[in-house]
Each structure stands twice: as structure tokens, then as C-alpha cells.
Subunit: 168 residues, 2 copies
């Protein structure tokens, strides 16, 4: 089954991270592949990097990406993330494969939509979770489960900054 | 800050579970209190019960509850969950307190809305996450962050049953 968690609200990546906990609790083999999230310190990675039965592969840089104007390195990292995801899915080694922020990578021009759709096609018996804002209609059409995390209100609008252990 | 994750889509409890991973990765003290989830085996509990810095308290029975017609035991369990949550928040011992399914408990007549609002008031410096469908307007008004997990599509509608490691 392929899940998509999209929308502008808090809870997309964290829902995928929670699913990882649940699957690990059942002794399943899990893989987390992240677009646009390398070279930055995340609480969830500090936590999960100590877990067995979970492999983590991060791609990207620590620089902000300008939507639809990616630098060469951004395109290279996204291409590497795609190749890793393809290899991981083809290996059929994992029960759950989370491909974090892939929807944003497609929306911002870092990855062709056709490649995301190809990865969805490769899910096989694995549970595949794709996160990020801006999921396309085509990806939504192809997915088995889609949740829109819709922001009703957010403390960011009151000037609260992203905080360790809550946002990252 | 008080978060509410509500709506009819998949991802409310799992987002809270993911936030627990992130907070634990930052060395924070975390407490998970669950309404209506005792005496059933959950992958996430199997996983997290092995974690230090996390205390878990479950309440409820293994019987289904009929909305607005709770049995005496359901009311007792919900009252015990409320008392535990109040004690936990007043202790100020935790950085993150997840109160799972409390929105449903209120909606189904297991807990007075006034008691949920009282717990929100007790958050203090802690991050408090309240999950479950049917959050009331009053709770939403009082919260700092609200995400509606909105179901766009779900494989349950194709007849797929809840599966170990994915739904529980």
C-alpha cells in the first residue's frame, strides 16, 4: 500500500515517524529515505539512529532551496535519493519504506513526477509512505491512502520559532 | 503549547508517536496517556515500552464503546485517565505530554469538555498534544496549534482490514 501525507499542517513527517515506531514494535524491517534533509541535526534521527531494523539514508544539503530554481547539487542529491529509493524498493528487503519530503522535491522541480510515480509502482508488498506538501493530483490518484494534514491554526503565526524536540 | 490533532484521516495518533521519537532524541522527558486503549496489543507500545525517559499510562477496556452510551467501567476508566493527566501536568516533570484519544472521550460522553479544557490550562511550559476525532470548537479555540488530518482516500474503503504494524 502507498500512503501520502500532504497538506500545509504540522504532522506529515511526524506521522511517518510514528508509523516507524509502530512497525519496529512489530519487528518489521524499516527504511527511512529523506529528500532535502542532510547535514542538519534532527531529534528524530538522533533517536532512530540507535534502532536496529531501521536503515536511514539522508540526501540534500544544509542550504535552503529556492523552489523551481534548484542548484546543481540539489538536483544531484535528489537524483541520488531517487536511485536509493528505487534500489531499496527493488530489494524487497523492507516492510515499511518512508520516503520523506518527496512530494516537495517533485513540486520544487528537483525530481520528475514520473520518477515518483515509478517508485509508487515498485511498492509491491511493502508499505510505502510519501510525505511533504504539494502532492500532485497524479500521485494522489495513484496512492492507496491519502491524508491531508490541514493547518487550522499554528503557533508559528504568533511568532513562535521552530523548537528542538518539537519541530526538529 | 497545546497541540490538537483531529479529523477523520489516518495520522493523528501516529503524529503524536512521531513527536515522542523526536523529543526522546533530544533527551526530553515524555509521558503518554491513552484514553480507551488498555488491554489491547499495540506495536507502538511494544516499541516505546522499552524506552527510558518515557512513561506510559493506558486506560479503558478491550470492549467497544457505544458513543454516548458508555458503560460504568468506561466512565471510571476515563475519570482515572483524567486524574492521571492532571497529576502528570501538575508535576511539571515532563517536557511533552501526549493525551491520546481525549477528543473522542469528550465527544462520546466519557469526559466533560470542562475537564479537557482544565487539562489544557495546566500545560504550563510543557508541550501537550491531544489527539482524536471530533475535537470541539472550544478545545480548538483554546489550543495553540491545530491540525485536521483529513481523509482524502483510505484503503479501508476498499475492504482492507487494519494490519499489525500499520494500524496498531
Amino acid at each position: 500500500m502507498v500512503h501520502i501525507y500532504t497538506g500545509n499542517g504540522k504532522g506529515k513527517t511526524t506521522a511517518a515517524l510514528g508509523l516507524i515506531a509502530r512497525s519496529l514494535g512489530r519487528g518489521k524491517q524499516v527504511c527511512l529515505i529523506q529528500f532535502m534533509k542532510k547535514n542538519f541535526e534532527y531529534g528524530e534521527i538522533q533517536f532512530y539512529s540507535q534502532q536496529k531494523n531501521l536503515d536511514i539514508f539522508q540526501f540534500g544539503t544544509d542550504k535552503l532551496i529556492e523552489p523551481n530554481k534548484p542548484a546543481a547539487i540539489d538536483l544531484e542529491e535528489a537524483a541520488a535519493a531517487y536511485r536509493k529509493a528505487k534500489q531499496v524498493l527493488k530489494s524487497q528487503k523492507y516492510d515499511l519504506v518512508v520516503i520523506d519530503e518527496i512530494n516537495v522535491a517533485v513540486s520544487w522541480g528537483l525530481l520528475d513526477l514520473a520518477k515518483q510515480l515509478e517508485l509508487m509502482q515498485l511498492a509491491g508488498d511493502a508499505e510505502v509512505v510519501m510525505t511533504g506538501r504539494y502532492a500532485t493530483d497524479e500521485a494522489i490518484e495513484k496512492a492507496d491512502l491519502v491524508t491531508e494534514m490541514r493547518e487550522i491554526k499554528h503557533y508559528f503565526s504568533k511568532g513562535v520559532k521552530a523548537r528542538k524536540g518539537i519541530e526538529f
